[in-house]
């Protein structure tokens, strides 16, 4: 809400610097978004009267002017403009002056003739025809004869000795979308009286009923509709003070009647509308829902097709206004308008909002209706409007009003205990002080036996109970009185959810293994998942979509983390980051049914991605095992994966107790290429929910060995296809309890070995907790291993 300081001063005696006013308003809940000092841009520019003009001796277009600048002695200024005449009042920038366009003026010589300043054009003063008639001409801006005596500061003439303050109005204070609302608060924070206008006007007899007939068909959407008629309208220019107020608020002055409606809207917060009575067909106003498909051309010349949920103000034949949003072109005020019907109403805020949204319109009026206007202020605003019509001689007020409403509220009564307010705030404020503050805010309050009896005016329908009363008291009393205290009550121990503790454990492990955590958006593009080349019926394609996304690339709630990880890997790869180990532990969104009707399953998922020198399937396998080992003391089982985005020969699935936990491996080269990665890249996806569900049996300390270990090397030959895991299992079974460690140290295929075979070498460490192993025991164990190996087709290499 933009207000000029001078406008506020019409209602409150503001005698503090503007900065102090702003600070106090902020501390009362009105944030200042911007404060503009209009005078700052211009300095030392005055009204000058041209007393004498002569041609410049050495120029065919310049004039030497003697200008009365109120200093007692004429100032000589040379100008090149052709539109100046002796006797004209002009803006004169004196020696050492600043102009709003950034120019700094100093005395000098123009073709040898001294010039002690500059006569200014409208453009040089950043003034347009709208701001000051005549400012738009080519040449010097000629001032009106009543602009001011020579020497008058031009800032005064242009209304620049003022400040514009832009207050941010919170959603609970629609009453402060008005200059009067702001002024009421300013009066309270400054401790000054609030001089609210008390509108009076004279009427000229006759009856409104002879001019118009009003009917409201939908009181739900229009709880109050109020109208008056003006006759003998004289359309003219508005007075300067009113124009100045409008301009400061960012509105363009048009004509007295239109300007009055805008002025009253800004002043009271109530949008007003004026109809040219000539164009109100059948002299009828009907507030009704639009007929489906009905058309209207609004003031801005745009055509709209309406739907039946929209409220219109219609005449006897067709809609002439979209209620609360914009008037129609037909009934707008024209230069020859002579009779006017003024409307002031309250429309339901969500109705206006929905209609405005649907039609893609937003006006000063609709913004106010959407936030809510006060039903009582409707009449006040109308009276203020009539007062101005009367004062400006813009027309004559016909007797009588039309007031269609379904009942008007009275001031609500609230009874609040002083002790309850004190208990909520935690500081001691006396009941008397509360009464004083509330009354200053026009909440009429008395105190009896420790109870505040408050009558809340209808424009403060945000004040509903003791918490609101506490807030009103506190924001005026001052929040700096609130001093921090320590809570009393039971001592509580702060706990994390088990899931967070588990996640932290995973993160610690990954960080120790050189992984960096990433954070990516939870939504991805609708086509993003196609890059993984999943089958058409893959469950991961069933995703929740956003109805109103910012764009397709942010439209789909992800069901997996791989696409996000691949994108990040790709970003780093393309930026020539040599190697990367990244992880993300985040939620994925699994719909229960599509389209969604209930909240999807939000399950935690872990994704790891890596590339770079030294990274291969096995480095990733080691990480996956380490993560699983945090939650399971059972070694995971490994199987080949069949994941379309992974290399078919270099990918695996790990599971514990039959539950699939991890899918990982080298990314399929074709998929990697799709992400712009031409090297090897590895990805693991872990179902964190399943992982968290695993139980690690209590680990107890295992005694350190007392007896020596024995190592035996086994050089084996088997089919090239046999996975080494099979051999390892055979060795482990054969060695039984004595097995301490099995290490694979060589795999060989080539000329020394028969075609289709491979040689595999293991170092087996055997140890007993009971005693030193004898040769006999060792041999027995080795024979058992050989037997088991034999069973899987592996023999000792001869």
């Amino acid at each position: 809400m933009k207000v000029s300081l001078s406008w506020l001063k019409r209602y409150v005696d503001i005698d503090v610097p503007v900065e102090e006013l702003c600070d106090k308003m902020v501390m009362a809940g009105f944030e200042v978004e911007e404060m503009i000092d209009l005078s700052k841009s211009m300095r030392n520019v005055v009204v000058g009267k041209v007393t004498k003009m002569e041609r410049h001796p050495d120029s065919d277009h310049m004039f030497i002017c003697q200008v009365d600048c109120g200093t007692g002695e004429d100032v000589q200024i040379v100008t090149g403009a052709q539109n100046v005449n002796e006797g004209d009042l002009v803006p004169a920038a004196l020696h050492d002056s600043d102009l709003p366009n950034g120019m700094h003026i100093k005395k000098g010589k123009l073709r040898g003739v001294p010039s002690n300043g500059m006569l200014c054009s409208g453009e040089e003063l950043c003034v347009t025809e709208d701001d000051y008639p005549g400012a738009g001409v080519y040449g010097i801006m000629i001032l009106k004869s009543d602009a001011g005596a020579p020497g008058t500061d031009m800032r005064e003439v242009l209304g620049l000795n003022d400040y514009i303050i832009d207050f941010k109005i919170t959603a609970n204070r629609p009453d402060c979308q008005s200059v009067l609302g702001i002024a009421r608060e300013a009066a309270v924070v400054l401790g000054k009286p609030f001089n609210e206008p008390n509108p009076t006007f004279k009427t000229v007899g006759e009856s409104i009923n002879d001019y118009i007939n009003v009917e409201v068909k939908n009181f739900d959407l229009c709880p109050r509709y109020y109208g008056r008629v003006i006759k003998n309208v004289k359309i003219a220019e508005s007075p300067a003070w009113m124009k100045k107020c409008l301009l400061a608020a960012g509105m363009r002055p048009i004509s007295n009647i239109v300007d009055i409606t805008n002025f009253v809207m800004l002043e009271t917060g109530m949008p007003m509308h004026a109809f040219d009575l000539r164009d109100v067909k059948d002299r009828k106003i009907i507030v009704r829902n639009a007929y489906e498909g009905e058309q209207i051309t609004t003031l801005d010349g745009k055509e709209h097709t309406l739907t039946s949920d929209m409220l219109v103000i219609a005449d006897g034949q067709e809609p002439s206004c979209i209620a609360g949003i914009m008037g129609g072109m037909d009934s707008e005020i024209k230069d020859d308008t002579t009779e006017i019907f003024f409307e002031c109403a309250k429309f339901r805020r969500d109705s206006v909002r929905k209609t405005a949204r649907k039609l893609g319109m937003r006006t000063e009026a609709s913004g106010r209706f959407e936030r809510g206007v006060d039903i009582i202020t409707v009449e006040y605003a109308m009276n203020r409007c009539l007062q101005l019509v009367d004062e400006l001689g813009a027309g004559e007020v016909v007797d009588g009003n039309v007031d269609c409403n379904a009942g008007l509220p009275t001031n609500r009564e609230l009874n609040v205990k002083v002790s309850d307010v004190v208990a909520l705030l935690g500081i001691d404020i006396s009941g008397e002080k509360m009464v004083e503050i509330l009354n200053s805010l026009q909440i009429r309050t008395t105190l009896t036996d420790g109870v505040l009896k408050c009558f809340v005016p209808s424009f403060r329908d945000d004040v509903e109970g003791r918490a609101d009363i506490a807030e009103e008291v506190m924001r005026i009393y001052g929040y700096d009185h609130i001093k921090g205290t320590a809570m009393t009550g039971a001592i509580m121990r702060g706990r994390k959810l088990p899931e967070r503790i588990k996640a932290d454990k995973i993160k610690d492990t990954l960080i120790a293994n050189e992984f960096n955590e990433i954070a990516t958006y939870s939504f991805i593009g609708s086509k993003a998942i196609d890059a993984l080349k999943l089958t058409e019926d893959d469950a991961r394609r069933n995703a929740v979509t956003i109805l109103n996304p910012l764009g397709d690339e942010y439209s789909t709630m992800r069901t997996q983390l791989v696409t996000s990880m691949m994108t990040v890997l790709s970003t780093n790869y393309s930026r020539k980051v040599q190697s990367a180990r990244l992880f993300e532990l985040s939620k994925v969104f699994i719909p229960k049914a599509l389209p969604v009707t209930e909240q999807p399953e939000e399950t935690p998922a872990l994704c790891m991605g890596l590339y770079g020198e030294g990274e291969d399937f096995f480095t990733l396998k080691g990480i996956v095992e380490a993560v699983i080992a945090l939650f399971s003391d059972m070694a995971p089982a490994i199987d080949r994966a069949s994941e379309p985005y992974l290399h078919p020969g270099r990918s695996a699935v790990m599971s514990v107790a039959g539950k699939k936990i991890a899918t990982f491996g080298e990314v399929h080269p074709a998929v990697a290429e799709g992400y712009g990665i031409d090297g090897k890249v590895f990805i693991a996806e872990i179902d964190a929910a399943v992982l968290y569900g695993l139980e690690k049996t209590k680990t107890t300390y295992k005694p350190l060995p007392k007896f020596p270990a024995v190592e035996r090397d086994l050089a084996l030959v088997c089919d090239a296809e046999t996975p080494v895991g099979v051999l390892e299992n055979a060795i482990r079974e054969g060695a039984g309890k004595l097995c301490e460690d099995i290490k694979l140290f060589d795999v060989y295929q080539g000329s020394q070995i028969a075609e289709g075979k491979k040689s595999v070498a293991y170092r087996v460490t055997l140890r007993s907790a009971e005693g030193t192993l004898t040769d006999e025991v060792i041999d027995r164990a080795v024979n058992k291993m050989i037997k088991k190996l034999d069973a899987v087709g592996a023999t000792l290499r001869s």
């Binding site: 009550g489 702060g494 994390k496 990433i518």
Partner: protein, 339 residues
């Protein structure tokens, strides 16, 4: 014989002193103390002495032998020390050569800051809870005192998934779920992701993070709210940081305040970061609206509480002076490695 012994001893000691390395020293040892050494030879001649002379002479010889052995040992140690010193000297490194980097990953900066916050609030007795990111209209708006036609709905542009389903616009939704499932005293924080339909730019992201705090108990006051936030501000911004309340509006708290702290950059003097005010806004807070308590089945006549919501992304970018929020979600490893 005595004289011979004396001269032999002096001669040997001189030879020890003259030996310049271990090898020469060993030669001296063999020459005098070896099996065929000269001092050994004297011992062998002892038989030719009278029984009276023998012990006296024996003692003298042994004494000379011990003296010589001691001298050799000292000399030997000297050589060893020197050799060790020489070896150390030879092994001297250029310590300004580059190090072998330690291998270490790291948390995302958002989570580094979050973990600090969790530590602070957990130590004050707050439980750390979680809530769903896809919420119903009821939990995100209705129960938080934002009815259908309330203009406050316009304060936040919401992503909708279905008529009644949306991506939560505030972690405050978790307040309701907590109050429905726990009985006072309640003391929780709920960190999490929130979503608003803001176009992406240097200071806006459609995905961001909040930390919601909620306390409900008997006799909770606005001064208690300030007390908790002061503790938090002191931990995050330093002991001398001041906390200031400014009136504001949130539908689910009444009274509502914006909370400013002394600008950490200029310590309140006024600078570019705080736009000259000396204060920076860090969070919104207030006393839980009685209607919200009631909606969760908590009697506002008996209990009161406060709530606050902290923007984690803003806290992170100000702490690390990150000028563009998009860097947080781009995940360039060269960025991530700096934290």
């Amino acid at each position: 014989m005595k004289e011979k012994l004396q001269s032999l001893k002096s001669e040997a000691l001189a030879a020890v002193a003259a030996a310049t390395d271990e090898k020469l020293l060993d030669e001296v040892r063999v020459k005098y103390l070896g099996k065929k050494g000269e001092l050994t030879a004297i011992l062998k001649q002892m038989g030719s002495l009278s029984p009276e002379e023998r012990p006296i002479m024996g003692q003298l010889v042994n004494q000379a032998k011990a003296e010589l052995e001691e001298a050799i040992s000292v000399a030997q140690n000297g050589f060893k020390t020197k050799a060790a010193e020489a070896k150390l000297k030879a092994e001297t490194l250029d310590i300004t050569m580059p190090s072998t980097p330690a291998k270490k990953g790291g948390l995302h900066p958002l989570n580094i800051v979050l973990n600090d916050m969790i530590d602070i609030f957990q130590s004050m007795g707050f439980d750390v809870v979680d809530g769903p990111e896809v919420e119903t209209d009821y939990y995100n708006f209705e129960a938080l005192n934002v009815p259908q036609d309330h203009p406050a709905r316009d304060m936040q542009d919401t992503f909708y998934l279905a008529e009644n389903l949306l991506l939560r616009t505030q972690t405050s939704a978790a307040q309701i779920r907590t109050m429905e499932t726990r009985k006072p005293p309640i003391k929780i924080i709920c960190p999490g992701r929130v979503y608003r339909a803001d176009e992406v730019d240097a200071t806006h992201s459609p995905v961001f993070h909040q930390i919601e705090g909620l306390v409900v108990d008997k006799n909770i006051t606005m001064c208690d709210l300030k007390g908790v936030l002061e503790q938090f501000a002191h931990e995050i911004y330093g002991k001398e940081t001041e906390v200031k309340f400014r009136p504001s509006f949130f539908p689910f708290t009444e009274p509502s305040v914006e909370v400013d702290v002394t600008c950490s950059e200029c310590r309140g003097k006024g600078c570019r970061v705080c736009k000259g005010s000396g204060w920076i806004e860090i969070l919104g807070a207030g006393m839980v609206h009685p209607r919200v308590l009631k909606a969760c089945g908590i009697d506002p006549e008996e209990y009161s509480g406060f709530a606050f919501g902290i923007g984690l992304d803003r806290l992170t970018t100000t702490r690390y002076k990150v000028s563009d929020i998009r860097l947080l979600f781009e995940n360039d490893l060269r960025f991530l490695k700096q934290f």
